[in-house]
Symmetry: C2
Subunit: 326 residues, 2 copies
């Protein structure tokens, strides 16, 4: 049965949180949702598009994973600001031939992650065209609205010379799974064996801990890959970064290239003053010092033994291109 | 020249408002945007998808009109709550072959309307797949974040027996233009002759006036058509509505059917206590009393001379279907 527009809105309404909870006086069904932000807080807003055959493939990713990853991208952005998510909004464009079962699985995956963080799906929109055949792509746009105390949200731009560079968790798990998928495109991977790719965990608690204690001088989430995202931070203040290859925590089976350039790990990358003591684990997640910030020019140096090489922003093209257009 | 993803973000950054303005400490370029809401206000959030061949056609609508209408839908939702828009967020999925000129025109139209209301484009996302050919559709998802004093945002649900029913402006202009387009699909209409369709004006000032003075008991914007939207209001409280056909203000050339069922006029429909005096014009826009709310059951009656007929929700299918899937 194809998922009709009305049944989809009804289903989201059934599955999503009821309005009337403290922070969401009004949810799906009026012209706009109403949200309450804690007194003294600023509003954080992030939007992320997930497009079939760009960010996921129907033959590779179960719908639950697509829904989870879609929301994880938004949560990870809020985590990188040290924020608390309040509500999510989902816009879905669907080919008319898409089975209702796929949409149900997608919503299940998305809402399970929302529930886990106490966040309500408070609105959205759907569009569907009978003119679009089965070759049309699924598109999901997720908006996450959150908050942080006024003036305290962490930005990409605060890194200064002398700061240490840290990452949470282990890197490269997502690229490792993608490599396996590209190597054997007809074979399905078991999501349980590759949770870092199929069900990445946004580091909301770690982000809030770091913001709350004023530890981090800058923060970004690792969506594009360490080499690219670290470059983003350096660009903002015209500083350079030195990273020790052997310090970079790698997921099991992941190579240095996976960890450096792979992207979509949704771990946090942050800087803190060199003399600041940082716990080895925060909210159950390992935190590893991988390098330091030096004065300009803007560049990222990778130190391997006695050698040092400059990492170009944008990562390695052979990881980037296939991911962007499988 | 096709619009590349990076050049699009750069262009939005160039064209959109600079962060640092009072309500938007941080705009495009970090993990999330930061917005400030006036003290004592709640946050309003609305999302609207605009999909090519569902909401617009490239051969019928100039890109400036598509951009304008895309944002007008979001502004109109905020207007219907009596809110003040603060920032807009745009997610765009584009076929790889789309000329940069089209994207520029789209952004020009969108930003002109944003400027007119002092609203900044504070973020967004883009996706583009080399795998999508020229047959792929353009998709734009617009998010508008606004605010209203706590507890004062107007909802669809406040209409009670004895209230009068009002609309702003004139109805049917958009349906009239669509009918002309469907009648001669190869002919282009002059947007200047059909401004209500190509450049509808969201009634933000009227919405705020009504909320500010506590005049309206319920409000909704006319996006789906008077018959459908009035039914939405009645459903919420299980009341009935009686509308006098000859009272409905029609755009020049529009029939009663255009005005009743056409949709996309983006005027406001509101109710107010029967004894409340309502100005004939608010913020330069005509306000017309068209009927009254009675006690249940939920239905909308159209009075024409001595006859009365029940209007089905959903409007007339011959207006709805072609608009949804031209």
């Amino acid at each position: 049965m194809p998922a009709s527009e009305k049944s989809l809105i009804r289903r989201i309404r059934q599955l999503s949180g009821k309005p009337g909870v403290a922070r969401i006086p009004l949810g799906i069904g009026d012209d706009a949702a109403i949200l309450r932000v804690p007194p003294g807080h600023e509003v954080l807003v992030t939007t992320d598009l997930s497009l079939e055959n760009v960010h996921f493939r129907r033959d590779w990713h179960p719908p639950e994973s697509v829904g989870h990853r879609c929301l994880a991208r938004g949560f990870s952005d809020i985590a990188a600001m040290g924020g608390q998510p309040i509500a999510a909004f989902l816009s879905l464009a669907l080919p008319a031939t898409l089975p209702q079962k796929w949409v149900d699985g997608f919503l299940r995956g998305l809402l399970a992650l929302a529930d886990q963080h106490g966040v309500v799906l408070a609105g959205g929109d759907t569009a569907q065209s009978p003119g679009l055949g089965s070759s049309a792509n699924i598109l999901a746009d997720i908006v996450v609205v959150g908050s942080a105390p006024r003036g305290e949200a962490l930005r990409r731009s605060g890194a200064t010379s002398g700061d240490s560079i840290y990452v949470t968790g282990k890197l490269g798990a997502s690229a490792l799974a993608l490599e396996a998928l590209f190597a054997k495109p007809k074979t399905r991977l078991d999501p349980k064996k590759y949770p870092g790719h199929f069900y990445p965990q946004p580091r909301l608690a770690v982000g809030r801990y770091l913001r709350d204690r004023g530890i981090a001088s800058s923060m970004i989430d690792l969506s594009d890959g360490l080499s690219t995202d670290l470059h983003h931070c350096c660009c903002e203040r015209r500083v350079s970064a030195e990273v020790a290859a052997e310090r970079i925590p790698r997921a099991e089976g992941a190579t240095l290239e996976h960890a450096l350039h792979g992207g979509e790990d949704y771990e946090l990358l942050f800087t803190a003053p060199g003399n600041r003591k940082i716990p080895r684990r925060i909210a159950g997640v390992a935190v590893t010092r991988i390098g330091k910030i030096k004065s300009g020019p803007t560049r990222v140096l990778l130190l391997e033994g006695l050698r040092s090489q400059e990492l170009a922003p944008g990562g390695w093209e052979h990881f980037r291109n296939p991911r962007r257009s499988p």
